[in-house]
Point group: D2
Amino acid sequence: MKVIIVYHSRFGHTKLQAEAVHRGAAGVEGIDASIFTTEEALENAEQLDQADAIVFGCPTYMGSLSAGMKSFFEQVVDRWFKLAWKDKVAGAFTNSSSFSGDKLNTLMDIVVFTLQHGMIYVGTGTHPATSHPDSMNSVDGPGPEVENRLGSSVGPMAASFQVKPPAAPPKGDIATAEAYGKRIAQITKRLRG
Amino acid sequence: MKVIIVYHSRFGHTKLQAEAVHRGAAGVEGIDASIFTTEEALENAEQLDQADAIVFGCPTYMGSLSAGMKSFFEQVVDRWFKLAWKDKVAGAFTNSSSFSGDKLNTLMDIVVFTLQHGMIYVGTGTHPATSHPDSMNSVDGPGPEVENRLGSSVGPMAASFQVKPPAAPPKGDIATAEAYGKRIAQITKRLRG
Amino acid sequence: MKVIIVYHSRFGHTKLQAEAVHRGAAGVEGIDASIFTTEEALENAEQLDQADAIVFGCPTYMGSLSAGMKSFFEQVVDRWFKLAWKDKVAGAFTNSSSFSGDKLNTLMDIVVFTLQHGMIYVGTGTHPATSHPDSMNSVDGPGPEVENRLGSSVGPMAASFQVKPPAAPPKGDIATAEAYGKRIAQITKRLRG
Amino acid sequence: MKVIIVYHSRFGHTKLQAEAVHRGAAGVEGIDASIFTTEEALENAEQLDQADAIVFGCPTYMGSLSAGMKSFFEQVVDRWFKLAWKDKVAGAFTNSSSFSGDKLNTLMDIVVFTLQHGMIYVGTGTHPATSHPDSMNSVDGPGPEVENRLGSSVGPMAASFQVKPPAAPPKGDIATAEAYGKRIAQITKRLRG
């Protein structure tokens, strides 16, 4: 089973998130996990064709997916003409410098793209951290070390408050991404096994 | 393998679409397909818990999912607390009285709901009808008899121009819904078999 | 100039947010600001027709606008048939128990509704708090006392971590809502003066 | 009052739509209307700063705004840092080769961008064509010559079924765009006069 992470990152925050998704997938028995920048993915497009799952991640810039990721989407349009990625597992993740910061819109841009390709979309499959005993009934809410503190179900979200990598994204957001990689790999084994 | 269609319909258009999804699923070998209104689904909630796939459909009213469907979503919140529907297959469909009519927003409302439940989301897996030889290079575009004439990938869309059921939704939109039911059933067999 | 806040709230968090929007609008010279629950709004629908601005707010439940608000939207459909609210100023706000929690989707549901009515949509008009000196380069990010800590531009977001009102939403989210009421009132004076 | 149309178009369909929005705005007394490609807009960015209204339009590619437009959005980020476009009127339009084709998602990408800039968003302000006597109770729905046949409220949508410009977008979609330009100009005069 082959899982590929394709990411776009300018300052390195989303790269750390991508590496965590990759680590989570790679740790599942029977999974061959690779990680590509969008540029590397274009050079190795035949590997995408052979993959069982592809997970796409990029920063949220100005309220939607980054131009870097969108440009990649447009450059692989020939795969869409052939529905070459149909029935592969798909996933999405994003990072920005706010708690919320319109990150959902980026994930939705990616969800629509993957469904246009006929892929099968997998979300985080976890509750928001606010059902975690440590963060319930706290005005401050879940801290930066808590998994799924941002409460996303569509895909992992990370918030990097202009702190340079590797200080950001924080531990909790990295854990969210790693758990997602594991989930993607497990669903891929069930669907494509 | 158990597939359940849950729908809300006021005038009967969405009901016809739901019946087509049900027909498509029921026609796949090894599939036990049921169809419930949102009221019936609440009365038979334990059947939803036992299902392998649940497909949700409702009209697009004022640009989002109908209050009837949303009320159902809120009444099954106990399933979300337990993530009781995690890893089931999910799908969505909608009908309104315009070609576009903000139908995508309704499908997205349902997609987010199913991903909050940890379900695995399956779209139409087909090209828009505009790659169909009969509709290419036609100013009018694909007619009401053409499958996926509306060009949706997230889930089947239907357009019923205030014509009473069974005259609307038209043949092409019904075929789109039926093909979707078949796809949902096939993916369910692969993922949950 | 008449500004009306219409809100749906079950546990009282969104009510506090609505009252803050109202307070912000009422504090602007020349503004007559009212606040209605969705039930009161239906009983006083002629006041909505006379308003220069209407701001809609509700909790985010299961990833979209609450059934209570959606039901209200469907019950005022006669106003849409007549485009009776065309060119009025519109706004939206929401609360949920996560930092992010798919709140953007609720705001978008309301934005589409107001644009279907031909209303003029006004967002927060402010930067995310992450450009605030106190929260830059902090792993924790902006605290609960900081305005627009959640980084929303479409409309005010609040996060109430299951803490009972009036302890939640926190001070920063209330300030965000109040500043939004003021902005709505000021734009209303410019557009409708 | 200065209205600027900024568009990205690869094959010329969206260009025709942009020219129609421009024509509609230019026809309103007291309006100085300009039209720029995204490249021209970058070269004349100070004109955008002086504008009273900016309308953004691009094709829907793979379910979201084109990389060409997104790249432009990222290149004018310095305007966002200064909120230099705050309180200007904003609008959006899009074209694709399907009736629906996930066009709403592109408009939403643009709406979020404009609200991040603190702009005031104006939609079509019209009913869907399906309330038009000629298209009611017709299985086929409104033809290509009917204004707002696609039923959009967020901004003009056009469907060009792979027919080369100027045969597509069809007459009705061009009329929708022209009416929108007129509306943008009129609201601009009211808000910024």
